[in-house]
Amino acid sequence: MNTGPYSDEKVQKYIAAEFIPVKSQCVWDKRTELMKQFDVAWTPTLLVHDSTGKEHHRVVGFVPVDDFLAHLKLGKAKMFFNRFRFADALDNFTTVIEQHPDAGAVPEAIFFQGVAHYWKSHDPKGLRRAYDTLAARFPQSEWARRALPYKQIPL
């Protein structure tokens, strides 16, 4: 039976369309090989992998539906980004930002949207825009501080 975010129809549809879902049980007194392989020390631990099984994104702890969907999409975006597929990454970071504006994953998505834009176009203005957006919308976020060097880039 699916409980928590998994009982939500949007989550079910998104997972069915985009992922092969797998549940791996944790055993604390005798860690499983998968727990050791992925350094899992708390539950829930949610991992987004590419089609070869390589991890690209991780969430530890409960997340409600909107945050959950944003993390799944951020994971897909990071998977494209890590493979230098910057146009696909850009589309997916933008999806997180536009479809889940209040989700906790958004500041990270804005940061990497700027970087993906830079890699795709070699125009540094995308980095500056990422800083401006983070400074305006999420000034307390660590991602705003990470983007601070881009403040110097002229628009």
Binding site: M1, N2, Y6, S7, E9, Q12, K13, I15, A16, E18, F19, I20, P21, V22, K23, S24, Q25, C26, W28, L34, M35, F38, V40, T43, P44, T45, L46, L47, V48, H49, D50, S51, T52, G53, L72, G75, K76, M79
Partner: protein
């Protein structure tokens, strides 16, 4: 409402992901 069809074997799931070119989502859970 369609239930999610969970795989229970990670390695089988990777095999399926490779065949279908889908990403893989893994939920580590604890039945406390």
């Amino acid at each position: 409402m369609a239930d999610i069809k969970w795989e229970k074997d990670f390695h089988k799931a990777v095999e399926l992901a490779g065949k279908t070119n889908k990403s893989l989502f893994q939920d580590f859970w604890f039945d406390g």
